[in-house]
């Protein structure tokens, strides 16, 4: 898959960053607004796919040398560890907790362990989706 479309490439350069920013916002906003790990992960993946379509696999791999399988595995591991963390503290598996703290810059902020769990979901979704797409894309 190698073709060059200048318009697509130029617009992709800008669009990808907008989409990525949005996806991260969606991921963290998920606790209180529409969004969350699944949606955030999928949007991130779609941004990356756009990148891969506009440029080719090799070029992108040089820019982002990430093994997405590891990201996926790390995501599953993180969500598992939040569960084990609550076990270690004597609560049932995967109990979540939250608290409100004053943070510099952010003001009064909610800190929830569920967000860490959601981060794991996010990473698993990104990792898996990209693994699937790249496996197919690299297949010749």
């Amino acid at each position: 898959m190698k073709f060059t479309d200048v318009i697509l490439q130029t617009s992709t350069k800008i669009l990808v960053f907008i989409i990525l920013t949005f996806s991260i916002y969606v991921m963290f906003a998920g606790h209180n607004n529409p969004g969350g790990g699944f949606i955030g992960g999928l949007i991130t993946a779609s941004a990356l796919i756009l990148l891969y379509i506009a440029f080719d696999v090799k070029t992108v791999h040089e820019i982002i040398p990430i093994d997405f399988k590891l990201i996926g595995a790390a995501g599953v591991l993180i969500s598992l560890l939040t569960g084990i963390g609550s076990l270690a503290l004597g609560y049932p598996f995967l109990s979540q907790a939250f608290a409100y703290r004053d943070l510099p810059l952010f003001g009064k902020t909610e800190l929830a362990t569920a967000v860490i769990f959601d981060l794991g979901v996010y990473m698993a979704v990104v990792g898996t989706t990209m693994t699937i797409i790249l496996s197919i894309g690299e297949d010749e």
């Binding site: 969606v26 529409p34 569960g83 995967l94 929830a112």
Partner: protein, 797 residues
């Protein structure tokens, strides 16, 4: 979790590091590391010795599934201790022996020792479990590990055959035993053996009592190779010899005997129990010794002799159980002597049979054959092995000065007691026992003299025989020494080990505080037992000398009607039957399987719902519908119908994608922002995926199939669609209870989240989500492998 629990689990835990040891420390035989486990356990259990029956036995409980009354309770009493010492003691010697027997270079030692340790742990579990279901679990574990060990040389078809045979027979017996246990639980309301024993008087009249007993006995008989289930044991001899010595003579086959002894306090008072066990035991005793004479393979000879000896122990337990019957309360102590003989012979048999198996292993190892016809004249070449065989063989034959003599005499006392105190045709018991003992004597002579005396035939042997290395002789040597020691000092055992064991078989026979009179002596005066023994020696020797003249009777047995033949025929017959049956519907065509599923679904759901008359459709709660919503729905239908008739891949994919986008629009209308967002992105990515694969995807051809095929498909799909629609419609009219969703509206107080759907996913039902991403990731890895593994293969080519 007590030390006792740890002792049972320690072999299992050790299996985890055995492969590592075998892989990383190549210079030292893995057996040396494994040796530590049985040795330490032996020392640990020796610490409980001598167990005073007056003191309460050791009990440790660990709740496992309390709601079902299943506790991992361990119970160490006299009977358990006896078995534990055999298991760990012989286990130590077997592992030591195996270090010399199993070649470090050629064999897969990690497999061997892992299976062996699993077996050892399971055996400890059987003996110590108080809970019937836990016992059953360990019981099947021994069957599985025995299967793995018999099939250890899985390249040989005979090993695989033997392994399968033993597995099928013992596991089906175990299965019936499980049913028996469940019935017992139904009767007594508990799985605890001790609690059932405590109420043994009350449950004997229950209607299920006899069925439970029969089912449990079936399990015990298959495991202990009683006639007619004994056929698996000779085939199990394909296992490496240390395994034959350990599993198939000293320990595993004793599990059935153990179970009978353990449950005697529950069932012992019943005459059915007495008759079944005694008769099957005596038949097995006779048949095993009769068949042993015929064998040419030394291991097969020992296998049949093991069967025969197990029958002897079993029949003794049967006779002993009469002590618990109310009709014989006056002679109770006499009958209990038979149970004592059973326990004593169980111990003796483990020792001398273990010794014999190890020596046969040595012979096999040094000469390359176990065929009696090829062996002979080895006495001067292998003098130590010869001595050991003589000790073991004559102990088995029941001659002084070896411990087997004592238990054989006690066996005769047992059958004579039964004959004297019962009427009818019980006088046959001593006769059968006597004939079987003569045959036993004959095969012991064959074992010793055909192998070690007579002409030496080096030209028929694969190797030049010489005496085995010292290490290999240590284990059988120790056992042979014990055989002699226990003849001269049987009372070393009797008070400390046998009496507590007898006490656990018959806990309520004596008033509290009293002990059984168990002193064993070799000389009882010139009584019937001694005359019987002398008769055995005279007749046995004669039969041995004239063996050629009468061995023709074996050829008169019809070959067609043997049990083995029946087993083989039954097995192949069942395979053919089931193949015939399954091949009628397992066509290998996905379409058929899916049709079955759909048709069954339609019949079951639509049928039940129509039968119950719940298809009442109430449309009054419907909300209003706008024109644009209607248009959207119609577009979905048009796109879907289009796919059926489309012959272009591209347009079909686009049509499916458009349906996805329209569904996400519906989600917007239904006030589900999360869903709408997700569906939108997923649909995009899925379409991209389809397009990526597009190049490789097969072209959609016109379905060139018969009209009947199409019509049946159409009918099935209409059926599915209509059934589901009707269900969906009638569900709306039935609001049986309030939605539980109101609870989740507290998500801000409970989870600190304003997005209820998200808090459901990451907080309330986080476990589901976690498993979901595991599934997702698994799918990703599967896709990766589907593509990359093939590339690797292509590169290798």
């Amino acid at each position: 979790m007590s030390w006792l629990h740890f002792a049972v689990l320690s072999p299992f835990l050790f299996t985890l590091i055995v492969p590592l040891l075998n892989k990383n420390i190549r210079r030292i035989h893995t057996g040396w590391f494994v040796l530590a486990i049985p040795l330490l356990l032996f020392i640990y259990f020796l610490g409980h010795f001598p167990l005073d029956p007056a003191v309460a036995p050791v009990v440790h409980s660990l709740p496992w599934i309390p709601s079902l009354g299943i506790h991992f309770t361990l119970y160490l009493d006299g009977l358990a201790l006896l078995l534990l010492l055999i298991i760990t003691g012989i286990g130590t010697l077997v592992v030591l022996y195996s270090i010399y027997y199993m070649s470090m270079e050629r064999e897969a030692l990690h497999n061997f020792y892992v299976y062996l340790l699993i077996f050892m742990g399971a055996m400890l579990g059987i003996v110590l479990s108080d809970n019937l279901l836990v016992l059953y679990g360990f019981w099947e574990m021994t069957s599985v590990s025995s299967f793995l060990l018999i099939a250890y040389w899985y390249q040989r078809s005979k090993s695989r055959y033997g392994a399968q045979k033993s597995m099928l027979i013992t596991v089906s017996g175990g299965f019936s035993m499980l049913f028996g246990f469940i019935l017992l639980h139904k009767i007594a309301g508990t799985f605890s053996i001790r609690e059932i024993i405590a109420m043994s008087g009350d449950i004997a009249d229950h209607a299920l009592f006899i069925p439970a007993m029969l089912l449990i006995l079936l399990g015990a008989f298959t495991k202990s190779a009683q006639f007619p289930f004994h056929i698996w044991l000779p085939d199990a001899m394909e296992a490496p010899t240390p395994i034959s010595a350990y599993l198939h003579s000293a320990t595993m086959v004793k599990a059935g005997v153990y179970l009978v002894a353990r449950l005697t306090p529950i069932f012992g008072g019943n005459m059915e129990w007495f008759w079944i066990i005694t008769i099957f035991g005596l038949i097995t005793l006779f048949w095993g010794s009769f068949m042993a004479i015929r064998q040419n393979d030394l291991k097969a000879l020992l296998a049949y002799s093991t069967i025969s000896q197990l029958g002897l122990i079993m029949s003794l337990l049967g006779i002993g159980s009469a002590a618990l019957n109310a009709n014989f309360s006056d002679q109770a102590l006499l009958f209990s002597g038979a149970a004592l003989a059973a326990v004593f012979h169980l111990f003796n048999h483990s020792i001398f049979k273990g010794c014999l198996f190890m020596v046969i292993g040595i012979l096999d190892h040094e000469t390359g054959t176990r065929d009696i016809r090829k062996l002979g004249g080895l006495m001067s070449i292998m003098p130590i092995s010869f001595t050991l065989t003589v000790i073991g063989g004559l102990s088995m034959a029941g001659l002084p000065p070896f411990s087997g003599f004592l238990s054989k005499e006690m066996f005769f006392t047992g059958v004579l007691t039964a004959a004297r105190n019962m009427d009818q045709w019980v006088f046959l018991l001593p006769a059968v026992a006597w004939v079987a003992s003569i045959l036993t004597f004959v095969y012991c002579l064959i074992l010793v003299f055909k192998t070690f005396t007579g002409p030496y035939q080096p030209q028929r042997l694969d190797k030049t025989p010489h005496e085995a290395p010292v290490g290999m002789l240590i284990s059988p040597g120790i056992l042979a020494v014990l055989v002699v020691v226990f003849f001269f000092f049987p009372n070393l055992l009797s008070l400390s080990l046998l009496e507590p064991a007898l006490h656990s078989i018959m806990p309520n026979l004596l008033p509290p505080g009293e002990r059984f009179d168990v002193s064993i002596s070799a000389w009882h005066g010139f009584n019937t037992e001694l005359i019987m023994t002398i008769g055995i020696i005279l007749l046995g020797t004669m039969l041995y000398i004239y063996l050629k003249n009468w061995s023709g009777i074996y050829d008169t047995l019809p070959r067609k009607y043997t049990l083995n033949n029946a087993y083989d025929k039954g097995l192949t017959g069942m395979e053919r039957m089931s193949l015939k049956f399954t091949s009628t519907y397992m066509t290998g065509f996905l379409h058929n399987y899916l049709s079955y599923i759909f048709v069954v679904m339609i019949c079951l759901t639509a049928g039940t719902l129509l039968g119950q008359g719940v298809f009442t459709i109430d449309l009054s709660t419907n909300s209003s519908i706008e024109l644009y919503e209607f248009m959207l729905g119609i577009s979905v239908v048009i796109a879907a119908v289009y796919i059926v008739f489309s012959r272009s891949r591209m347009t079909s994919i686009i049509a499916v994608g458009s349906i996805g986008y329209m569904v996400s629009l519906f989600f917007v209308i239904f006030r589900a922002p999360d869903l709408a967002l997700t569906q939108l992105v997923v649909e995009t990515i899925t379409t991209a995926l389809f397009l990526l694969c597009f190049y490789y995807l097969p072209k959609m051809k016109k379905e060139l199939s018969r009209l009947r095929f199409k019509i049946s498909n159409l009918l099935i799909s209409l059926g599915v669609g209509i059934t589901l629609t009707l269900i969906g419609l009638s569900v709306q009219g039935h609001n049986l209870f309030d939605s539980i969703a109101r609870y989740f509206e507290n998500s801000y107080e409970l989870a600190g989240a304003k997005n209820i759907v998200n808090s459901l996913l990451v907080d309330f039902r986080a476990f589901d989500t976690m498993l979901e991403i595991v599934v997702l990731f698994t799918a990703g890895i599967a896709v990766y492998n589907l593509i990359k593994l093939r590339e690797n293969r292509r590169n290798n080519r």
